[in-house]
Symmetry: C2
Subunit: 888 residues, 2 copies
Amino acid sequence: MTQKRVYLFKEGNANMKNLLGGKGANLAEMTNAGLPVPPGLTITTETCMEYIDNGNQMPAGLMDDVKKALTEVEKQAGKKFGDASNPLLVSVRSGARLSMPGMMETILNLGLNDETIKGVINLTQNERFAYDSYRRFLTMFGSVVLDIERHHFEKELDIIKAEQGVKLDTEVNAEGLKKLIPVYKNIIKEHSGKEFPQDPYTQLQLAIEAVFSSWNIPRAVAYRNHYKIDHRYGTAVNVQTMVFGNMGDDSATGVSFTRNPSTGENEFYGEYLTNAQGEDVVAGIRTPKAISELKIEMPELYKQYVDIAQKLERTYSDVQDMEFTIEKGRLYILQTRNGKRTAAAAVRIAVEMKEEGVITKERAIQLVDPSQLYQLMLPSFDPKAKKSGKLIAQGLNASPGAAVGKIVFDTDEAAERGLAGEKVILVRIETCPDDIHGMIAAQGVLTLRGGMTSHAAVVAKGMGKPCVAGCESLRIDVKNETLTTSDGNVYRKNDVISMDGGTGEIFEGSIATVEPKMDENFEKLFTWADEIKTLLVRANADTPEDAEKAMELGAKGIGLCRTEHMFMAQDRLPVVQRMIIAGTKEARKEALAQLLPMQYQDFKDMFKALKGYPMTIRLLDPPLHEFLPNKDELIAEVATLKALGKDASKQESLLHTVENLSESNPMMGLRGCRLGLTYPEINEMQVRAIFEAACDLKKEGMEVKPEVMIPLIGHVNELKAVRNQLEEVAQQVMQERNIEVDYQFGTMIEIPRAALTADAIADYAEFFSFGTNDLTQMTFGYSRDDAESKFLNNYVEQKILPSNPFETLDQEGVGQLMKIAIEKGQSVRPGIKLGICGEHGGDPESVKFCHRIGLNYVSCSPFRVPVARLAAAQAVLEEKGMKTLVTK
Amino acid sequence: MTQKRVYLFKEGNANMKNLLGGKGANLAEMTNAGLPVPPGLTITTETCMEYIDNGNQMPAGLMDDVKKALTEVEKQAGKKFGDASNPLLVSVRSGARLSMPGMMETILNLGLNDETIKGVINLTQNERFAYDSYRRFLTMFGSVVLDIERHHFEKELDIIKAEQGVKLDTEVNAEGLKKLIPVYKNIIKEHSGKEFPQDPYTQLQLAIEAVFSSWNIPRAVAYRNHYKIDHRYGTAVNVQTMVFGNMGDDSATGVSFTRNPSTGENEFYGEYLTNAQGEDVVAGIRTPKAISELKIEMPELYKQYVDIAQKLERTYSDVQDMEFTIEKGRLYILQTRNGKRTAAAAVRIAVEMKEEGVITKERAIQLVDPSQLYQLMLPSFDPKAKKSGKLIAQGLNASPGAAVGKIVFDTDEAAERGLAGEKVILVRIETCPDDIHGMIAAQGVLTLRGGMTSHAAVVAKGMGKPCVAGCESLRIDVKNETLTTSDGNVYRKNDVISMDGGTGEIFEGSIATVEPKMDENFEKLFTWADEIKTLLVRANADTPEDAEKAMELGAKGIGLCRTEHMFMAQDRLPVVQRMIIAGTKEARKEALAQLLPMQYQDFKDMFKALKGYPMTIRLLDPPLHEFLPNKDELIAEVATLKALGKDASKQESLLHTVENLSESNPMMGLRGCRLGLTYPEINEMQVRAIFEAACDLKKEGMEVKPEVMIPLIGHVNELKAVRNQLEEVAQQVMQERNIEVDYQFGTMIEIPRAALTADAIADYAEFFSFGTNDLTQMTFGYSRDDAESKFLNNYVEQKILPSNPFETLDQEGVGQLMKIAIEKGQSVRPGIKLGICGEHGGDPESVKFCHRIGLNYVSCSPFRVPVARLAAAQAVLEEKGMKTLVTK
């Protein structure tokens, strides 16, 4: 090896990661960008492998190269290594090409010895700081380089603390720390068999060797094995000058943002302390000064800093969060990174930076995290008020937003009082379609059972209504109308609680909320997003109100109108139940005839709200027993009546019907098209209502685009049979009305078999809509109703799964099926329309995946439409190789 | 077109299907094999297209070619077309290259006219037969060729019947039929505008044109569209000599088998009638004579016939079912096809034909239908006794076999009385693992709910126990212990019923049964099968008895040992329940410690039974609530106690536990490895028991091969976590016992996602076992517990699905996932062991599929082992291009 082994920071650049490691390459890049980075050098990763291949021996001449480079560093820093009056101290760090925990930790203050400490004391006029630095260095050197167990050092510190009668390390005075130095040197001698090396170059060589050797310690090897990282990569070693902000009144340290991270306002924002260390700013012992004061105290340096900050903002095309130190009148930038910010600030910063010409519109799109956006559309708790609130329970953050109201347990009561203008929180063990009117009228919904995709969660999300689900620590006593916490505290009906659907927290009493504000920045950002994105965004909506809200938020049609919710209205449920209980086809048809005009009006209202945009209408999907009373309650009722000797025949007969319809696994039972094939007259009524409404509106000159979606197809023959039957109804209605409407028939792809045989299915479908909720259920074999509380949350916590697949699409498994379906579907019908209508349609990562695999549209709940629009635009940019580097 | 348009039968062969159609090619082949087939000619399919392309005009010269060929036919038949003394009559039939319903029907007796009928009367001396033939010909010609509606003809026949005061066509006398002739000719003239053509050649030309035209009638076009058959194929026309067995005492007609189709005995078997038509043999008006009498009546012809029969048996390498006619001393073979036979006959015939040197051992294997074999291993009802039995209900044929016994509703009672030697039938609404002891002791199991793969069906099949499931027309009154049929008939406890698990029938009283017999033919056949097959056959077995039975039937190990059944034994359930209800890990471990020695003994007994063959042990799989009392019953109990003011706290607490464990869709809930990851100590106990047993037996010098199977894996991380944990237990036990055993860890592939990500999973699995029951559930989204009775049986009936996918593997969907899994698994671990342990492992078609996709073994219930062995051998032969042409 005759290659260059040691690089000064100024000799490298960001592209040299493989040779200089990630950290080394970044330090080089910043140095060359003209930033006043504390100077230093990097020993290459190749040298590490040379060392190892050499049997853990330093390559000949390496230390000479290091010394030569260090001389250069000394010049830049204006200090000398080992100099007692103005000593250069350095940090030594490992740095592989990929971030890789498990290797050697950092050693700070290397170069300290019994001589150089005098210089530090003299320069800082702070003996305590100097000895504290020295004893820390001895501990790090002893433990990390010489492999002496840490507790030997800690024990001695404890003795001193006991002597001084103090509890914290920071309370030990200079005298105490000074006494530790000989003791620590003794520990090193005793355990390593050698004196602590006073020579800084010896210290440095040993530290470098320790970094090299750490490449092959077992936990590093295991880590590489696990993540399949090449064992031949090696690690670089970074040796960097230490700088100190506590060297007098011409020294200082601080942090700052190039813009206000809370509001997004374009103002230099931050704080600093003179003659202080970085920790002092954070620790809060002294009150830091606003960064604007630096302008007065050190105008030259302030100007230099602001210039650098603005340059950095341009370089990184983003708000910068910087750390700086001024050492004896000299400014050093220790770190700069993209700044974290609130959702509101993110939008304002992105739009303003674009309008200032600092960034492009594309970059503006990239600077906002779509998933954060959702917050902006919902009320939230005042952070201060929330801090002082009394937390009484913690559930799943099923649907975000803040809500305050009186506890109500009964759905009808919640509906009535809520509609009357009272603020109530509906509290239920779990919700079912029967509860919808109560959910609509309540401020928020709290359930004790069910997961992120339970009925309560899905419906609440669709409504943009706050919901905390699966709050299992609570108990409801329905009879006495009380809610008991795990501590035994009892809350009664009408007690006020506050709930944060974004965190799953439940608080006692009323907490002040902040209303959302959607300003013109928001509008601008979305106009740009729409200019960039190619994916269409539709909404899932079942009511004209939801449809209008969705259009307002930028949806271009409805991707999923669930007709079952229409069956649940209070005035219809009895008719629906009569239809279900009907013993004969005639009785069923009679009930259906009553439902027809209602459904007709439903669809008419929906079409009107849509103003010509397409609407995908899913035919009745859920198992019929969902429309009937709860089985367990009926069993108890029958048993009670019988025990009391009362007549239970009516209830028994109903129970019999419910039992006949009940299934062991209703999710995989008689629902979707299976229902349609068993009771064809239900679908026929629905399709008649759709086409009657469409024809009548078209006659009035309105544009209508119905897309009839047949759910739960697993075999092409199902689709063929249902489609043929319903196509006939459609034709008949159009003939009766003597007008033609544009329409399509299509299917959901939500059963794995449908994806696997999508070629056959595409023969009978003008569109596929991926029902990724069910597809995820079947692909994983997870019941949405149970999985989260029973084991899935646990899986995510234990990292068995990277995330909840009901929230973020499982690209590897479910996504693979989607790709298979698309490829097969397009092989038969090249222009087939492709969409997604599962909850994933509003999840940014999933939206991007949908763009990549070539869907035409995503459909999500109305409040997620903006999220999807932004994510869709980002997907286009990512495809062009632009990284989305959002800092949350 | 100058190609040959008309072929005599003797000019064609079986390979000319495309040109001569399927029927024409077969007639040619038989003729050339030297069979006395009534002579005839075939007009090619190309000529049909020529006719159509010509605007439905007969190609010039075609009729000349037909006449020329017909002259040849006349010579062969010794008759003349249109000859009044000895007329040649012909049939005209269409025949495309693929069998294709929808085209022209057959026309018989073409050539009859007012002259030739005289010849027929003279020759048959049967005026009624002659006029009946004539009026039938006029009807066919009028309706089929001239497109006159049939009812015009039928109406006139009705008038004659009324005149003669008779009801049936066959009762009309010669006079009546004769009177119809001028009437029918009149109808033809009236509706077609032309006289009925007396000229036979005109008749023939019109018939040929009708066949050609029928290629493009709407229903034929629709059929081809549906089945994607090329519209350019065209149809051939077959013109064949009619022969008559009723031309005097030197004429006869009959049917015969080359061997006895009931017993398989090598004897010429059949019956005939002299001076009769084919219909007479079937109609039963005259009693037919045994074929052996023909030897006396017509020794020459008999010899000729037997020679032909033997030759045909050799040609087709199978028993032949033949139809013959002797016309005036001349033998004609009208048809020969492979004969249907019973299962017992199939085995005997196959083995004897091989031993006689008629067929090869490969052909012998092909001659037996594996699915029929299963019958041979079970008792069956005496067919005559069954015929006179009173059918009281019809359920699903869940597990074949005949059973007779007294009705018992209570499981414990069934167990007790059954073990005491009494014959009982266990009748339950549905069964659960609690019922196993009762099922074991009963003769058969009848359930009112549940499908082909319900608990009752699966367990009964595994035991080889007759079971009728989902007999929904019956009602049980548990309290009064009665069973009520849909007619309202009531059967009480101890009433005797008979059940046929192979048909799903339930009869009143006792029906005589026939015991199965497995003779040496059976042994021979299976020895040959084993010599041919490459797929290994294992069994699913949970008890030493089942394991021994499986080995006896030829299994080479156990592919699925379900440990949950071991948890269900009466003495263990309370311990298991304590384990489940345990509030703490410690309490759970305490209960598990009690189970450990029991499981240890279980596995020890199993290993012993296996004599060194491998055993795949599946760790606990079902949801825990399956081990607890029924929720609905508990709810009713609690409600009753409370209504009566009694203490229900104990029951309430149990109900609370049951409710906590209950899930909306347990099939997709907390089970399999999800259970293992939630309560790791359960799996640990099981693995400890497996390895303690294995180590101890190995110390005694016994060979043991445990394969630990982790169920319900959907993500590699699940397998990784469980395997690492259990591998540690295994190592620890082997260290404690100081001995190493051969073992493997593997997983079931039963979740679609596991198949889709099998590459990652193969990293941690030495074997994959396809759990196609669950895989079918998830791939289709069908709940095994409900689907069949709710909609699946309906789907099969309506032909939406070709078959029940829980019985015969869905190769298109589920099979596609299997192929993906195999390809991905082998890409990572080339030698990975591959098996199947779903019910499909015993289904012949599915076994063949498993062979084709490269599995190493199939595993099925013990009584299906012979089925799988035979199917596996057939799969090898089919792969070599030998068709399995089993005639059931």
